[in-house]
């Protein structure tokens, strides 16, 4: 079986975001990381490959992005992915990204396609499902557990107020969230050395349109200062919550 992980390159989660003239995200000084859920997806893919009981032959990572995404992709190779594909164009909206991913991975015989549930920058939660529909394969979302059983995949997915066990034939798209792997792996020195020699293919962008335009950005209004209440006077807090905030 071949696994591919769709890997987003996103600003570190502690980044103070700025938008210059308000029309585009200012990338100056930003540290880039693997999108947190994609890192968990990659970790799970590596666990599946390392378990000798599974017929996993390779783990590929694919990113839609410019050359500046390559350090993040090398990180994924250092964590253990066998090879990487970069589709050479900026990510402009979810539909376009899914379209590029579909072009890049179709006809390559991938059995398990993993995406994260959300990218931490544009918070769409859309790429995984769009990709599945474009490839016309089943999709399971909110996946918090995944094992291989013959040519099927056994999945635990979160539903409102519980969990469901689902069985799906490959190929499929699984959109993963927390729980899929316990903790994201970090690259070891040996992995970092090896990553330099692993293949990172750059493929040209396909003709894909966008369905949305991000026209401007705004920062939220600053919060008024926190009203402090004395620890010995919790009754006052109750009164404020009842009569001022009106939430009790």
């Amino acid at each position: 079986m071949k696994i591919v992980v769709c890997l987003g390159n996103v600003p570190d989660t502690t980044t103070k975001v700025k938008f210059g003239d308000g029309t585009a995200f200012d990338k100056t000084g930003v540290q880039w990381i693997i999108n947190p859920w994609d890192e968990l997806a990659l970790t799970r893919a590596m666990e599946l490959k390392e378990d000798a009981g599974n017929p996993v032959s390779s783990v590929t990572v694919v990113t839609v992005g410019g050359k500046d995404a390559e350090p993040t992709m090398r990180k994924a190779l250092a964590i253990g992915a066998d090879d990487a594909i970069r589709v050479d164009t900026d990510a402009r909206d979810a539909y376009a990204v899914a379209g590029q991913l579909a072009e890049a991975i179709k006809d390559k015989g991938f059995d398990i396609i993993l995406t994260g549930i959300e990218s931490s920058d544009y918070n769409g939660s859309m790429v995984g499902g769009m990709l599945a529909e474009m490839l016309d394969v089943p999709s399971v979302s909110a996946v918090s557990g995944l094992t291989i059983s013959g040519s099927d995949v056994e999945i635990t997915r979160d539903i409102d107020g519980g969990k469901e066990q689902v069985s799906v034939a490959t190929p499929l798209v699984a959109t993963v969230q927390k729980g899929i792997a316990k903790e994201a792996r970090i690259a070891a020195m040996r992995g970092i050395m090896m990553a330099r020699k692993k293949p990172l293919a750059v493929v040209p962008a396909a003709e894909v349109e966008t369905l949305t335009d991000f026209v401007s950005f705004e920062l939220p209004a600053p919060k008024p200062p926190c009203k402090m209440v004395d620890a010995d006077n919790v009754a006052e807090l109750v009164d404020l919550l009842q009569n001022e905030a009106k939430v009790l």
């Binding site: 989660t13 975001v17 947190p36 859920w37 979810a94 539909y95 544009y122 918070n123 939660s125 859309m126 790429v127 499902g129 769009m130 599945a132 529909e133 474009m134 089943p138 999709s139 979302s141 909110a142 997915r157 539903i159 409102d160 107020g161 519980g162 969990k163 469901e164 066990q165 689902v166 069985s167 799906v168 959109t175 927390k178 966008t210 369905l211 949305t212 335009d213 991000f214 026209v215 401007s216 950005f217 920062l219 939220p220 919060k223 008024p224 926190c226 009203k227 402090m228 209440v229 004395d230 620890a231 919790v234 009754a235 807090l237 109750v238 919550l241 009842q242 905030a245 939430v247 009790l248």
Partner: protein
């Protein structure tokens, strides 16, 4: 032309989430001078379906059967009904189900998605929505360029508006092929208030020192009719189940009231709860960042403040 809204049911019953969605769809329909058609898949009784009229649906189309969600089957059905109704806008929740259906539907209908919205579109010409980006650190104004649009609404972010209308119920036999996913087993929590549904949430962090101290969180939640939550390290340590972890990598919630006890207020934690209408922080460090993004704060030992608060609320309720 119409606004279509997909209403999810739980074992044949609608929840507040469904009414919120219909209320939102009704406001969008008003902006577009059209009416709302609600779609319901699964076995739901007609009198339950008719309730949707009270929130602004003019018509309900029901599709019986298909009680377990298969993304492809459901998407196929909704797409057919959207086309049959000439829907210009399709409203879906931004919950786990919506996140599974909306993207597939987007490709099927070639419809742009406004994802995870917390407000009405700011204009219909061009069709512009404001969406949270960078986990709540900013908002983007996004133009949806296609003829048909899909809007996914974040849970608890729009008020339920009763309009007292009635809806006609129509049965549809739309089908969409065989399910390719097989559900083997379902485990549901029972008798607990679900974090995503809760109006009030009591949450604890590493400052509570040990999972053994969670009794005081649960007691406060009990008197408030609240759900319990926690920070990521707390669930990583195994003090609490993973389902309770809120934040950027956990659940993203928007209750009316969120208590953060012994939580430092890391940006990744706040990303999951910053849409709460009111945040109360309890922390023994007056400089903890959590106070910067809270409405009310108490500097003190959570192990003492929480039980005192439980008592004070009991007293206030008995008055």
């Amino acid at each position: 032309m119409s606004v279509l809204v997909y209403t999810e049911n739980w074992d044949g019953v609608f929840k507040k989430l469904s009414f919120e969605l219909v209320s939102y769809a009704a406001k969008v329909a008003e902006m577009m001078e059209t009416s709302v058609t609600a779609v319901s898949i699964g076995d739901v009784a007609d009198d339950e379906l008719a309730k949707l009229g009270n929130y602004g649906a003019a018509k309900v189309v029901k599709v019986d059967g298909n009680t377990t969600l298969d993304n492809q089957v459901y998407t196929g059905i909704i797409a057919q009904l959207a086309e049959a109704e000439g829907a210009k806008v399709v409203v879906i929740s931004h919950n786990n189900t919506g996140k599974a259906l909306a993207p597939r539907l987007s490709v099927k209908l070639k419809a742009a998605v406004g994802a995870g919205l917390i407000a009405l579109p700011s204009s219909t010409e061009p069709f512009t929505v404001s969406k949270k980006v960078f986990s709540g650190k900013a908002f983007a104004n996004v133009v949806l360029k296609t003829d048909v649009k899909i809007l996914t609404l974040a849970q608890n972010s729009f008020e339920v508006i009763e309009v007292g209308g009635t809806a006609t119920v129509e049965a549809s036999t739309a089908t969409a092929g065989e399910a390719k996913t097989t559900v083997k087993d379902v485990q549901k929590q029972t008798g607990k208030i679900l974090l995503n549904d809760a109006e009030i949430v009591v949450s604890g962090g590493r400052g509570l020192k040990s999972g053994d101290n969670w009794g005081i969180i649960e007691e406060l939640a009990e008197v408030l009719g609240a759900a319990t939550a926690c920070s990521r390290p707390v669930s990583d340590e195994g003090w609490r189940p993973h389902e309770e972890h809120t934040g950027q990598t956990g659940k993203i919630i928007a209750p009316n009231l969120y208590f953060a006890a012994g939580i430092s207020g890391a940006i990744q934690h706040m990303a999951g709860i910053s849409s709460s209408k009111c945040i109360v922080a309890i922390n023994n460090d007056a400089d903890a960042p959590v106070f910067e993004s809270s409405d009310y704060g108490i500097v003190g030992d959570a192990l003492k403040v929480l039980p005192a608060l439980t008592e004070a609320i009991k007293e206030a309720k008995n008055k």
